[in-house]
């Protein structure tokens, strides 16, 4: 059996979550890696949408940025940035929004704006919102992918850049948000899903070789663990080959 890194496990697990024939609004970085891995593997009819206006992009390598010509050259259609947000994202046409995060809290709220309690004098100034607030609001569901550690996985985000489940079950409905919000968080240690009763993120699967304690320690809140905790199947040879080919082609 081939060795693999925890980052590879994370990308593979994230890719598997994307069903064939669905559409996915993809951010650059980990989400783009996972989405392209899915399209070259089990989901050849996955439609990738990039916020630069590329609908149905089929890149042969991982794009360096959302402005990569490879995305435009391989897309079914290239539209303007206002159009991708207004005509394609906003009406809820897109199945999955695939996001990264700097901070994520136990109700799946995302922070990519500032670290620290004072917006005006932040400890760390992060890049900001980008497309995420409306991706998190409008896609039918949202997957989040990020490496797990207590600085990233916090009780409450310092700034709600993108709304997840707010302060719990029912908050999205109260605000009239159309999509289901974050339904899956993929990390380098396992998978988390909102509890059906409370919407609190709960550990539902461990990656092979990871212990529950490890995940609890890497989480900044008192992590709940599902009663029927599962284990993610290890990456297959085929998955690893595709992922490594993609990475190589993009180096």
């Amino acid at each position: 059996m081939t060795e693999y890194t925890s980052d590879e496990m994370m990308s593979v697990a994230a890719a598997r979550a994307l069903g064939d024939g669905t559409s996915c609004f993809v951010g650059i970085g980990l989400p783009s890696t996972a989405a392209n891995l899915a399209r070259r593997g089990h989901a050849p009819n996955l439609t990738l949408i990039y916020e630069s206006g590329c609908l149905g992009a089929k890149p042969t390598r991982l794009p360096l940025s959302i402005g990569d010509g490879e995305l435009a050259d391989t897309a079914d259609a290239v539209v303007s940035v206002p159009e991708v947000f207004n005509y394609w994202l906003q009406p809820g046409r897109i199945d999955v929004g695939f996001l990264g995060a700097a901070q994520l809290d136990k109700f799946g709220n995302i922070n990519t704006t500032v670290i620290g309690p004072d917006y005006a004098n932040p400890k760390v100034r992060l890049p900001g919102a980008g497309g995420a607030p409306e991706i998190a609001a409008s896609c039918r569901e949202v997957f989040v992918v990020l490496r797990q550690n207590p600085r990233a996985f916090v009780e409450k985000v310092d700034f709600v850049t993108s709304f997840g489940h707010g302060s719990g079950k029912g908050d999205r409905e109260r605000l009239g948000l159309p999509g289901a919000g974050p339904t899956l968080v993929v990390t380098d240690l396992g998978l988390m899903r909102p509890d059906p009763e409370t919407s609190e993120l709960t550990l539902t699967e461990l990656h092979p070789g990871v212990e529950v304690d490890q995940v609890v320690e890497a989480t900044g809140w008192k992590l709940k663990v599902a009663g029927d905790l599962g284990t993610t199947p290890a990456p297959t040879e085929a998955e690893l080959r595709i992922l490594r080919d993609l990475k190589r082609a993009s180096a």
């Binding site: 650059i28 990569d68 010509g69 940035v81 994202l89 992060l126 409306e134 605000l175």
Partner: protein
């Protein structure tokens, strides 16, 4: 009708201290050379506008040209953070930088409203986020037919918008292809506009995916081959990724940045 000018003259005539200036581009066709010319001409007090401020905005901010930034995502795309931007926000170096922060959807719609001659735009946006509490330019609005509440954002109408395009003809008609981003809206929203182009040609041959900005909608065109480097210019060059990586080290501390700036502006050590 657009005038054909040198970059130096175009920036001198179109960009003034204190102006609101948008240099747009969505990681493709970034008007980098024009940004450097603004630094060389030592403009100050600018309100810089851009959805995705990247290296050239980091440079403008580090050089002290800007007193305010209106934006939705500031970073070195695919690399990391903008250290001059961080230094300005966190430590007011070299001058304080006020920020007005939106989402991409909000910024795109602000340009659309500006291009459309409307005072505001409506979107489903910002719901549940902390942005409206930090940004005055997001307000609720109620649908007069359904009673539903949505978000309103005011139009962006820069004093001058600068974009980079592949081609213009001698009459000043501009052709852009590939990822065209929000460039048309940013130009049409502005009081004045400058388009730097890879080349001026006799005739704009129609091509798939290309849009044309008619000459009468543009103030000035400047021929600046390589004017978008190190970003992509579809049909001309790929992104120089090493330059993006290298910027991370240069931008990271004030001393190395100052050396870079002195070199750009021709100051001898």
């Amino acid at each position: 009708m657009a005038e054909l000018l040198s970059l130096k003259e175009a920036v001198a005539r179109l960009v003034h201290d204190g102006d609101t200036v948008a240099l747009e581009g969505f990681t493709h066709l970034i008007p980098v050379a024009a940004g450097h010319e603004i630094i060389r001409q030592r403009r100050t007090g600018l309100t810089l506008v851009r959805m995705t401020p990247d290296i050239v905005y980091d440079q403008l901010i580090g050089a002290g040209c800007a007193s305010k930034l209106i934006f939705s995502w500031g970073g070195n795309p695919g690399v990391g953070s903008l250290h001059r931007f961080r230094d300005a926000v966190q430590y007011e170096w070299p001058v304080p930088l006020e920020i007005e922060e939106h989402s991409h959807a909000g910024m795109a719609n602000r340009y659309v409203a500006g291009a459309s001659g409307l005072p505001f735009a409506v979107l489903r946006g910002y719901t549940g986020t902390d942005l409206p509490s930090r940004t005055d330019t997001i307000k609720p609005i109620t649908c007069p037919f359904t009673g539903e509440q949505l978000a309103a954002v005011p139009a962006l109408n820069p004093d001058v918008t600068i974009v980079h395009a592949q081609r213009a003809d001698r009459a000043g008609n501009v052709q852009i292809w590939g990822i065209t981003g929000v460039q048309k809206e940013a130009v049409l929203a502005a009081k004045r506009s400058l388009v730097t182009v890879e080349e001026v040609v006799d005739e704009l041959e129609p091509r798939p995916g290309a849009i044309v900005l008619p000459s009468w909608a543009v103030t000035a065109v400047a021929e600046v081959p390589g004017g978008a480097s190190p970003s992509y210019a579809a049909g001309y060059y790929e992104r120089d990724n090493d330059a993006y990586q290298a910027w991370d080290a240069i931008g990271r501390d004030r001393e190395s940045f100052t050396r870079w700036l002195d070199e750009l502006t021709g100051v001898k050590a």
